[in-house]
């Protein structure tokens, strides 16, 4: 049996929006109830992996700021 959409890139390496989109699609497919039981289980596992990766991304996030042009002045004290 082909397990469509179950395999895919490692969740940790996916862009946030991409992983979230796939997770939402998995939830929708499972809720549709049209999948074979085995495929439902496989998708569920994939969904859990995506969910963990997404939650980890949010928990560890540290904003990265890159100046492409010009040099950023440090923030003026009065704005702190």
């Amino acid at each position: 049996m082909i397990m469509e959409g179950v395999s895919g890139p490692a969740p940790e390496e996916m862009a946030f929006g991409e992983a979230l989109g796939e997770l939402e699609a998995i939830v929708a497919a499972l809720e549709g109830g049209q999948l074979e039981l085995e495929e439902s289980l496989a998708r569920y596992e994939r969904g859990v992996a995506l969910l963990r990766a997404l939650q980890a991304k949010l928990a560890d996030a540290q904003q990265k700021v890159t100046a492409l042009i010009g040099e950023l002045e440090t923030e003026p004290a009065e704005d702190m």
């Binding site: 929006g17 939402e24 939830v27 999948l35 039981l37 969910l51 949010l58 700021v65 492409l68 923030e75």
Partner: protein, 422 residues
């Protein structure tokens, strides 16, 4: 000294005209009268200040090229020269170049640019693209100094720290601003920005002018990714705001528009987590239920249901037959009844007719009957076999028994003699 030679009025005006046409000036003033009729070859107007006024004309081509639509009360800057109109003895200022003056000029120029872009459809709502829901790279084009860039970075750090922020620090005022901003947009898009924030803090109307520039507006419109503008503070609206896919009122608002809040995201993930678990549980329960249902299906318990359908078809056919037969019978009975009635009606007449005919035929038969001939006195002689009529003496011999029939009976006779001849 000779008395000065007198000249004609025409000559005098020609001299004045020549003298006036040496005066070329740039003049600023307010339009106090204006007349631009379709048939005229020039636009005629009067420009005045508190103490003086001058009649002006501008040839049609030059006026159209200026792009200005004159109205009374406008402050204008005109470059041109004086001249004289001999037929009326009037001095006039022939305008070669016309622009609007001061902030009024800027606002009108901006309105003019906006109209042009609108006519091209660049400001239409259906050009506005939706922003990516979860951008991984956010471009910021703004001054590297000042509050705006920090407002944006702080807001993004608070709301959506998972994205990388790509900053193009560019001058946002002065002559270099427009090309630098256009380059900045291009640079962040090339570096992978999925959305561009074009922001700057508040300033005077003139300070914001680079964001009213037509080439900047076209660069924003041509950007392959959506642009969010946050320029100045409300109620300033620049052309960049009009062309942008999303217009935010301030740099902070632009950052908020471009990025979802982490708190929303964690809430969303929690909800998805619950849905995922529930969906699987539901799926498993559904499968279990189906198996149970199948196990208790009559199919697995008794055999009747297997034949049920065929049985029902049979019943249906029987019912149809039951209905069809009496129906046919009834139809036949009806036909019979008609036939019977018809016969009843016609029958007696046929019989009557038959009786008459029979009577006539019987009478004729009576005439032809041999018995009727016998009635007249004739007799017939039958041979001894009783059925052959004796027609000749040769058919009998003496002593033979013959039967002679007369009209009312028969006589048994014996041939005594046989004589030939009549």
């Amino acid at each position: 000294m000779d008395r000065e030679r007198a000249v004609s009025v025409s000559e005098a005006m020609r001299a004045a005209k020549r003298a006036l046409e040496t005066i070329t000036l740039t003049v600023v003033g307010e339009v106090s009268e204006f007349s631009d009729k379709p048939g005229y070859r020039a636009a005629y107007f009067t420009v005045a200040d508190a103490d003086a006024s001058m009649s002006c004309l501008m040839w049609r081509d030059a006026y159209t090229a200026s792009g200005v639509s004159l109205r009374c009360g406008m402050l204008v800057e005109m470059r041109g020269q004086f001249s004289a109109y001999a037929p009326k003895g009037r001095m006039q200022f022939v305008v070669r170049k016309l622009t609007l003056a001061g902030e009024g000029r800027l606002r009108l120029q901006v309105a003019e640019t906006a109209r042009r872009l609108e006519a091209e459809g660049l400001l239409r709502d259906d050009r506005k693209r939706p922003l990516p829901a979860y951008p991984m790279r956010i471009g910021v084009v703004t001054s590297p100094r000042g509050k705006a860039v920090h407002d944006v970075i702080r807001t993004l750090s608070r709301r959506y720290p998972i994205a990388e922020v790509l900053v193009a620090g560019v001058p946002v005022e002065g002559a270099d601003a427009v090309p630098a901003i256009v380059d900045g947009v291009r640079a962040v898009v090339q570096a992978g920005a999925e959305v561009v924030l074009l922001v700057r803090g508040g300033g005077s109307y003139e300070d914001l002018m680079p964001f009213n520039d037509e080439s900047l507006a076209r660069a924003v419109a041509a950007s392959p990714v959506p642009v969010v503008s946050g320029i100045g503070h409300e109620p300033d609206t620049t052309i960049a705001d009009l062309v942008a896919d999303v217009r935010a009122s301030t740099p902070t608002a632009a950052a908020e528009a471009a990025a979802p809040a982490v708190s929303e995201l964690t809430g969303r993930l929690d909800k998805l987590s619950r849905l995922l678990a529930r969906a699987l549980e539901h799926r498993v329960r559904h499968a279990e239920h189906r198996v149970r249902l199948l196990a208790t299906r009559p199919l697995f318990c008794e055999v009747d249901p297997l034949l049920g359908q065929a049985g029902q078809a049979l019943d249906a056919a029987a019912r149809a037959l039951g209905r069809a037969i009496p129906l046919g019978l009834a139809r036949d009975a009806e036909r019979l009844r008609y036939a019977h009635e018809g016969l009843t009606r016609v029958g007696p007449r046929i019989v009557e007719r038959g009786t008459d005919a029979a009577g006539r035929l019987a009478a004729r038969l009576g005439d032809l009957s041999p018995l009727a001939i016998l009635g007249r006195g004739y007799a017939v002689c039958f041979a001894p076999d009783g059925s052959t009529v004796v027609r000749s003496v040769s058919e009998v011999s003496e002593g033979a028994k013959v039967e002679v029939r007369v009209h009312d009976g028969r006589l048994g006779c014996m041939v005594e003699t046989v004589e030939e001849g009549r």
